[in-house]
């Protein structure tokens, strides 16, 4: 959910000017915002599964330190989505385990 109105920061006047594909589903996004923000706005909280026990993981630190939010972006695994900006047309996949480099374009 986006925070449109805010008592201190005022209204968010940005518009969704990009579309990204997440596991085959198209979601609207703002060009340049972190991928993780676009996902949260679309209600997506699970970003990856752990290698051994396939447990879900999502955002923890949101500043690029913890690597819990890594996903496979345009075929490249282990991308920190909290600090990687959205570009129109990005293809994002929930990462299973360590991901696969062979998916890279």
């Amino acid at each position: 959910m986006r925070v449109i109105h805010h008592p201190i920061l005022g209204d968010d006047t940005r518009v969704c000017n990009a579309t990204i594909t997440v596991d085959g589903r198209q979601i609207p996004a703002v060009e340049g915002e972190p991928i993780a923000a676009a996902l949260l706005a679309a209600g997506i909280k699970k970003f990856r599964e752990t290698p051994k026990h396939h447990k879900p993981r999502g955002i923890f630190c949101a500043i690029g330190r913890c690597t819990d939010c890594i996903m496979t972006v345009d075929g490249i695994p282990n991308v920190r989505t909290c600090i990687t900006p959205v570009r129109d047309g990005m293809v994002i996949k929930t990462q299973k385990g360590l991901g696969e480099w062979s998916e890279a374009k």
Binding site: M1, R2, V3, I4, H5, H6, P7, I8, L9, D12, R14, G32, E33, P34, A36, A37, L40, A41, K45, K46, F47, K55, P56, R57, G58, I59, F60, C61, A62, I63, G64, R65, C66, C82, I83, P85
Partner: protein, 364 residues
């Protein structure tokens, strides 16, 4: 290879303040930061700062960030963004990655101002999506303008827990409860009163027993603690929630200082292992300085003062400020730092910082 006089790693409050001070004296300064934008964590701090007028009390954090950025620009400081520093080598050689490419930068002086990161807390369900740092939630709502969830349980009643609870409400979330393991509230009474007035219950001597949910957070079970910090059976409470925010302290981001070979000391009150530095913020390695949360977790106001101190000292050592003028500037900064480290919340940090300074003498 690129060269500069003073390289500052981290464009947060400490790093930018350092850059401004050194550049004003005439030094050539290059700031490196891995983020897309400079400012560190200042832009998520939408509350008014505390302290006195010199510390910009009453000004909101993001406004202070804007002021710092405009000064940085006016002075022509070079700021390299999306530049992740991954190594510090002999003779002050910095290795960093920018746009997927390897780069090196040699500097005469290096200031490490990498900040801190949030601590985690272990409990059943602590890895579920929806459990996150309070600062992470703050980044999401105030910088990225998205809500991480609608019903939040906040863990920790220090100023971060109290302030972020209020900001979550400003952003439209419902803070279901704030819990604190200690028997009393950790942060300023004025912040606690504010969220209590807004209807948030605060439970002290209470911790998380478990977080419920398979794929994401669906609920939280809390339990009360006795005077020995052990859970009291039968005191469980269950809350419906989709988000758990952890405001349980921060740890200095010290990797680069370790790698460079700086000597460390262990001071729990400052967040654990912290690099030893002198009154000029210089580490045990000549020409390598530290400033801000890496030297011990405090807040943005003291980070900015430490940054200025390192900036003055580094510029002085390069001959841009004469000894007398430098001493004058440093006296002013030391006085302001001492003022920030007073009162019931500052005294602990004052004695911890003194211990850190003294540990340098013990090495000799």
């Amino acid at each position: 290879m690129k060269t500069t006089e003073i390289a500052v790693i981290g464009a947060g409050p400490a790093g930018l303040s350092c850059a401004v001070e050194a550049a004003r004296a005439g030094a050539k300064v290059t700031v490196l930061d891995e983020n897309l934008k400079p400012g560190g964590q200042l832009f998520k701090q939408i509350h008014k700062f505390f302290g006195s007028r010199e510390h910009k009390a009453g000004t909101r954090g993001f406004r202070i960030g804007e002021q710092l950025l405009s000064e940085t620009e006016k002075l022509g400081v070079e700021v390299l963004l999306s530049s992740t520093v991954y190594g510090l080598y002999e003779d002050r050689l910095i290795a960093y990655i920018k746009d997927g490419k390897d780069n090196t930068l040699r500097a005469e002086k290096i200031v490490i101002a990498t900040g801190a990161s949030e601590n985690a807390l272990a409990f059943p369900g602590c890895t579920l999506p929806g459990v996150m740092g309070a600062g992470a939630a703050q980044t999401m709502i105030n910088v990225n303008r998205v809500l991480p969830g609608k019903k939040v349980i906040m863990v920790g009643s220090g100023n971060v827990g109290l302030i972020v609870s209020y900001q979550l409400m400003q952003a439209g979330a419902d803070v279901v409860a704030l819990i604190e393991a200690a028997p009393k509230i950790g942060g300023y009474g004025v912040h606690a009163a504010k969220i209590r007035r807004a209807g948030v219950p605060i439970f002290v001597s209470t911790t998380i027993k478990e977080v419920l949910g398979e794929e994401m957070v669906e609920g939280v079970v809390t339990v009360e603690l006795n005077e020995k910090w052990q859970p009291i059976e039968g005191t469980e409470r269950e809350f419906e929630a989709d988000t758990v925010c952890l405001a349980v302290g921060l740890s200095p981001l010290t990797e680069l200082a370790w790698m460079a070979g700086c000597e460390f000391t262990f001071i729990p009150a400052l967040g654990g292992h912290v690099p030893i530095h002198d009154k000029n913020m210089e580490t045990t390695l000549p020409g390598i300085y530290v400033a801000g949360d890496i030297t011990g977790v405090e807040e943005a106001s003291s980070a900015m003062e430490e940054g200025r101190l390192a900036g003055v000292a580094a510029a002085e050592s390069l001959g841009y400020i004469d000894a007398q003028k430098a001493e004058e500037l440093k006296q002013q900064i030391w006085a302001r730092l001492d003022a920030l480290r007073t009162g019931p919340f500052g005294e602990g940090r004052f004695s911890a910082k003194l211990k850190q300074l003294n540990s340098r003498r013990l090495l000799a």
